[in-house]
C-alpha cells in the first residue's frame, strides 16, 4: 500500500451493513467524526445511521459512537433496518482515540481477530487511578498494544493524539484521515475530504490533520516488523550514553569532574551511568567536594554489595544522589532562573511565534520552615522558634506569593536566592539532612552483610520521601516509620519482601494510615 489515494473500490452489493464503533472520550469530537462518516456515506448514495450515548458521557467519560452503512444500490426503494448499538464479534471497523480505549474495545468484544480492522491512537490519556497514584501507576502501553494486535485482523496505529497537537487540529480529523488511509471504506480520499469541507468549520487545520492521519495509516508498518510488538521503553537510557558511561565515564563529564569520573571507573559496571549522573547532580547542587562526599557515601555501601547485577550499589547511587540534592529554596530558585527553562516554556509549551511575548509567573508558597531551612543553623533555629517572626512571615506568605520571573525585580530576587548556594552548607536543614542520610546508609550497611535483599529494600524506601511542605513531611514520617520497622522484621526470612509491601502501602495512601495500620497490626509484632 502506498500513500497515494486508494482506487475507489466498486460499490459491493452488501447484504449486511458495514459496522463501525468509535470509542472516544467526551469532548474529543467523536460525534464530529461520526457526523463526517454519515455525511460521507449519504453524499455518495449510501444509507447511514449513527447513534451515540448522550448526556454525562460527554463530560470527559468514555463513550461509544456507533455507525452502520449500507449502499442504496440494490435497496429497491426499501429503507434498511440498521443497528443502534454494536454487537460483540460483529464490528468491522473499530476506531479508538486512545490506547486504553482500544483496550476497552477488546474487553467489550467489539474488536475481534476474525473481523475487525482496529484503527487506534497509541497516545495515552491517563485514567484517574494512573494519575493519582503516589508514584508509578501507569498501565503498560506495550500490553495494551499486544492485546489490540491480538484482537484485530489489522491494527492500524499511530500517535494520532500527537499529530492532532502538531497540526493544531483535533483528533477526530486525524482519525478520519486514518480511516481513509486504511482503505476500509469504499470511498476515495477526495470524497472523504469533501465531507470535511462540507462541514464548514476549521476546514484547513482539519484537512492538514486528515492528511497526516491518512499518511500514517496508509504507510506500510515497517517499524513494527523490526521491533516487534513491544515499543522501546521511553525511560530506558540511550544505549550510546550507557556504553560511554560503562567504558569511559570521564567522557560524560566536564573538566572539573575528571577525578570523580576516574573513581567511578573503579566501581561496578552496572552502576556507572547512575553514578555519573549522581556526581554531576551533586556538583551542580553544591560543589565538586560534595560530589566526592557522594562517592564516599555510595562507596561505603558498594563494598558490601553481593546483590545480583549490583542492584544495591546502583540504587544506593540513585537515591543518595536524590537525597543529597534535596529540593530547598535555593535549588528551586536555581531551576526557575535557568535559560534552558525559559527556552522550553517559550517554544515547547507556549509555542509562541516571534511576534508574541511570553511572561512567566511563579506560584510560590514559602513556609516558615522553608525559609528557616536555608538560613545558617542558629539563625534558622531562632526564626523557627520566634513567635513574632512566625506571625510576620505567615502574614506575608500565607496567601502565597506570585513572582513574575520574566520581570526585572522578580528575576533578580530569584537569581539572588539561587546564588545563596555557598551558605547552604551552614544551613539548618543541610545538617539535618546529612545526619538522616548517614543514619539511613548506616542501616543499609548494618543489614547488607546479613541480608542484601533487605538492604536493597531499605535503600528503595527513600522513594517515599517526595514533594514539598506537608507532602514532604508526611513522606518523611512514613520513611521514619519504615526505618523503625526494619529491626523488627530483620529476622523474618521474608523481611525484604515484607518491607517492600510496607513501602507499597506507604505509597498507596497519602495520610499514611494504611502504613500505620499495617505496622500496628499484630502480624508485624508477632514475627
Amino acid at each position: 500500500m502506498t500513500a497515494e489515494a486508494p482506487e475507489r473500490p466498486a460499490t459491493p452489493a452488501l447484504t449486511r451493513p458495514i459496522t463501525m464503533a468509535i470509542l472516544a472520550m467526551g469532548g474529543e469530537g467523536g460525534g464530529v467524526l461520526a457526523d463526517w462518516i454519515v455525511a460521507l456515506a449519504e453524499d455518495n448514495d449510501w444509507f447511514a445511521q449513527s447513534t451515540s450515548v448522550p448526556g454525562v458521557a460527554q463530560r470527559t467519560g468514555a463513550t461509544v459512537y456507533y455507525v452502520e452503512l449500507l449502499p442504496r444500490a440494490g435497496s429497491n426503494g426499501r429503507y434498511p433496518v440498521l443497528g443502534t448499538m454494536p454487537t460483540p464479534g460483529e464490528v468491522d471497523i473499530v476506531v479508538a482515540s486512545e490506547l486504553m480505549e482500544a483496550g476497552r474495545s477488546v474487553l467489550r468484544g467489539f474488536a475481534t481477530p476474525d473481523r475487525t480492522t482496529l484503527i487506534g491512537s497509541t497516545s495515552r490519556t491517563y485514567a484517574m487511578p494512573e494519575r493519582t497514584a503516589m508514584g508509578e501507576g501507569r498501565i503498560d502501553s506495550a500490553e495494551l498494544i499486544a492485546a489490540a494486535e491480538g484482537s484485530s485482523r489489522r491494527f492500524i496505529r499511530g500517535d494520532f493524539g500527537r499529530i492532532a497537537d502538531q497540526t493544531g487540529s483535533v483528533i477526530s480529523a486525524v482519525l478520519f484521515g486514518a480511516i481513509a488511509g486504511a482503505a476500509v471504506l469504499p470511498f476515495t480520499r477526495e470524497q472523504f475530504e469533501d465531507a470535511i469541507r462540507a462541514g464548514g468549520k476549521g476546514v484547513e487545520p482539519s484537512l492538514r490533520a486528515f492528511g497526516e492521519g491518512f499518511r500514517v495509516a496508509a504507510a506500510p508498518p515497517a517499524v513494527d516488523i523490526q521491533i516487534g510488538v513491544r515499543p522501546p521503553d521511553p525511560n530506558a537510557p540511550d544505549p550510546q550514553v550507557l556504553r560511554q558511561a560503562q567504558q569511559d565515564p570521564a567522557s560524560l563529564v566536564g573538566s572539573r569532574l575528571k577525578s570523580q569520573a576516574a573513581r567511578i571507573a573503579q566501581m561496578t559496571v552496572e552502576s556507572r551511568l547512575v553514578l555519573v549522573e549522581g556526581i554531576k547532580r551533586t556538583a551542580e547542587y553544591q560543589d565538586v567536594a560534595y560530589a566526592d562526599e557522594y562517592l564516599d557515601r555510595v562507596g561505603s555501601v558498594a563494598s558490601l554489595d553481593t546483590s545480583a547485577d549490583h542492584r544495591l550499589t546502583t540504587e544506593a547511587a540513585r537515591y543518595t544522589a536524590l537525597w543529597m540534592t534535596y529540593e530547598d529554596t535555593i535549588r528551586v530558585a536555581f531551576h526557575k532562573v535557568r535559560a534552558r527553562r525559559f527556552d522550553r516554556i517559550r517554544t515547547e509549551e507556549a509555542r509562541a511565534d516571534d511576534a508574541q511575548m511570553v511572561q512567566i509567573r511563579e506560584y510560590l508558597h514559602p513556609q516558615v520552615e522553608e525559609i528557616s531551612d536555608t538560613m545558617p543553623t542558629a539563625l534558622g533555629r531562632w526564626l523557627l522558634n520566634s513567635k513574632v517572626m512566625n506571625r510576620l512571615i505567615h502574614r506575608v506568605t500565607h496567601k502565597g506569593i506570585k513572582i513574575q520571573t520574566t520581570s526585572f525585580w522578580g528575576y533578580t530576587v530569584l537569581y539572588f536566592l539561587a546564588r545563596m548556594q555557598p551558605i547552604r552548607r551552614r544551613s539548618l536543614r543541610f545538617g539535618q539532612e546529612q545526619a538522616r542520610i548517614d543514619a539511613w546508609l548506616g542501616l543499609v550497611r548494618e543489614y547488607a552483610p546479613r541480608n542484601v535483599d533487605l538492604a536493597c529494600e531499605i535503600v528503595e524506601c527513600q522513594q517515599v520521601v517526595k514533594g514539598y511542605g506537608e507532602t514532604h513531611a508526611n513522606g518523611m514520617r512514613n520513611f521514619m516509620a519504615l526505618m523503625d520497622a526494619v529491626p523488627r522484621l530483620a529476622d523474618d526470612p521474608h523481611a525484604a519482601h515484607r518491607l517492600k509491601n510496607l513501602r507499597t502501602l506507604a505509597l498507596s495512601d497519602e495520610t499514611g494510615k494504611a502504613l500505620r495500620d499495617a505496622l500496628d497490626s499484630g502480624t508485624l509484632r508477632s514475627s
Partner: protein, 721 residues
Amino acid sequence: MAERSFAAEVQELRLGAGEEFRGEGILAVTKALLQSGVAYVGGYQGAPISHLMDVLGDAQDILSELGIYFENSASEATAGAMLGASVHYPLRGAVTFKSTVGFNVASDALANLASGGVRGGALVIIGEDYGEGSSIMQERTHAFAMKSQMWLLDPRPNLTAIVDMVEKGFELSEASNTPVILELRLRSCHLHGSFIAKDNRRPSMTVREAVENPERDLSRIVLPPMNFAHEQEKLNKRWPAAVKYIKDNQLNEFVKEKDADFGIILQGGLFNNVNRALELLGLSDAFGDSQVPLYIMNVTYPVVDDEVVRFCEGKRAVLLVEEGQPDYIEQNIQAILRRNDATAKLHGKDLLPVAGEYTPAAVTKGVHAFIAKYAPHLIADRQAPVVTLPHDDPRSPFAPRIKPELVQGRPPGFCTGCPERPIFAALTLAQREVGEHYVSADIGCHLFSINPPFNIGATTMGYGLGSAAASALNGSGAMSRPIAVMGDGGFWHNGLTSGVGNAVFNENDQLLVIVDNNYSAATGGQDVLSSKGESRNRSLKHPIEKAVRGVGVKWARTMTNTFKVDEMRDLFKEALTTPEKGPKVIVAQSECTLNRMRREKPAMAKAIKDGKRVVRERFGVDPDTCTGDHSCIRISGCPSLTITDNPDPLRKDPIATVTSSCVGCGLCGENAHAAALCPSFYRTEIISNPTRWDRTKQWFRTRWIGFLQRGIERRLEGISA
C-alpha cells in the same frame, strides 16, 4: 443559552410535503409535532431529550409563525400540569422530559390528568434513560402507564416510524380521551436517519383563542363524585376506544403471521436488535424481511388481547422480547393466553436476561436459544453467531484477549477549567482542618465529586433534594453538621422549597452549598432563573441569595469566584463552625466553562486577528522541581493536569504535567497556594500583538536576565561534558 445550538438544523423544520428530512431523532420528533398541528409544547431538559428542548428553543421563530406556544417548564411537574390545557379544549399539547426520574416528578399532575381525561390530544414524550449511558436508577416508565392508565407507545427505532407515531399518538389520545406517552429509547433520540416530510400545520385552535374563551366541564374535574366515575370511564369507555383505534389503524405490526408455528412478540423499540439477531441466524436480512413470524408491539400499553390471541393461534410457542423488569407484558400475555385457552407456550425471561438492557448480544442469545428449541433445522447448517458461544471458546468475542485490569473505568468528570472543581478542592482542604463531614449530593455535574479524586458525597436522592436528603441528619447537639450540595438547576427545580424552605422551617443546622454556574449545566447548559446572560424571551438574573433570604435564611454568602480556593476553604470553615442557627447557605458562583469557552474562544481569535492585544494564559509544571508525588492531581483531577515520563535520569516516577488543553483557569496555582503544595506551578501569559510599551519593557528585561543567566551557566562550566 444551551451548550449546543440547533440554529442551522431547525431550518429542516420548514421542509414541506414530499421533501426528505435528514437528521437526528430529536429533530424529527419536533418536525412531527409541527406536522401534527400541536398548539403548545413544554418540558424539562435532561438526557436523552435535552436536545428536544434546545431545538424547540432555537425554533422560536417557526413556532411563533404557526401560533404555537412553547415554555421551558420549571420542572417536570410543571410540564405535566401544563397538559391541563387539553382537558377542556381541543388543543393538542406535548410535553417532554427524561424518564423515569421526570415521570416521578410529574406523576402527581399526570395522574390527575389521566383521571379526568383529555379532550385535545395530550402527548408526553419521554426519553427512557435505561441501559448503557444512563445515569439514573434503572426502572420502567411502563409502571406509570399502567397505574394512571396512559397509553404507552414504543415505536420502532426508525425516524419514519417515530414521526408517524407522534401523529398517531395525538389521534389515539383524542379517540380515547387519554393522555399518551411516546417512549424514545436512549439511542433513538440521537439516531441519525431520514424520513419524508409533510407540511407543517397550524393548530386548529391556538392557546390564545382558548384562553380568550374560557371553558369548564365539571365532569372532567378530579373531585368526588367524579373521581369515582373517572375510574369506571377509564375501563368501560376509554380502554375499548383505544383498542379500537389501535386495531383500526394497525399501530401494531404483524409480519409473516402464519408462516410458521412459532413466532416472536416484541416491543417496537427493540425491533432493530431482534432483526439483527435474526440476521445473524440467517433468518432475516438488512431490510427486515424476517422469515420468522413477528408481532411488533408499537403500543406496549394497553396490550390488545385479540391481537395477541390471533398471533398465537396455531403456534406451538412464542418468544416475548420485553426489556426491563418487572415483566409486566409477559404477565399480561400469560393471563390473556390462559383466559382464552390458547395452547401456545410463552417464553420470555426464561430465555432472555431477567434484568438489564436488551443489547444485540442479549437478544441474539435469547432468540438463538428459542429457535434452537422450536426450529433447529432452520439454523442447523450455519455456524452459531459468535456472540452466543461460551466465553472460553476461542471464537467468542469475549474470549480472554486482554487482562481486565489493563482497562480502567473512565467515568465522566469535571471538564478542564470547570468552576466546580475548586469548590471541592476547597472543601477537601477545609475538611482536612475541621474534620470529615457527612455530605449529601444532588443531581448535576457537581456529583462527579463522588468519584476520585475528591470522593465527596454519600447520597443522591433526586433533583433538588440534596438539602432535604440531609435533613434527618440534623442531630441536635451533634459536633459536626451535615453538608448538602445542590446545583442551580436543582435549586430552581424544587430545592428552594423542598430543601431551603424545609431547612429554615425546621431550623435545620446544615451547610448548603449551591453551585451557581449560570446554567442547568449537566443537562446541556440551558438557562435557569439565575442565569446572567441576555435572553429574548425569558426573565433571567434572579439571584439565588435573594431567593434564599426571601424564605428566611439568615446566614447566606455568595462567593463570586470559586477559583479563590483559599477564600472558599475559609468560608467553608466558617460555615461549619459558626454558632448561627438555621441553615447556612453558600452560593458558589462561577460560569460553566463549557459555555464560557464557547463564547470566548471565537472572540479571542477574532481580537488577535484584528491586531488587538490579547493575553492567553495557561499553566505549567517545572519538570525539574516536580518530584512526582502527584498530590496536585489528587486535589484537582483536571483532565489537563496529567502525568508524563520523568526527564530526570535518576528519578523513576512520572511527573505532573499540564497539557495544551489547559484553559488557564488558575486552579493549579490556587491549589498550590491554598494547599501549600509545591513550587512547580507557574502561569504562562502569551501576549499576542504586544504594545510598544510591552516591547520596550521586554527589551530591557531580556538584556538584564540574559546577562545574569550567562553568569549562571558560566558557573556550571566543567560539570557536564
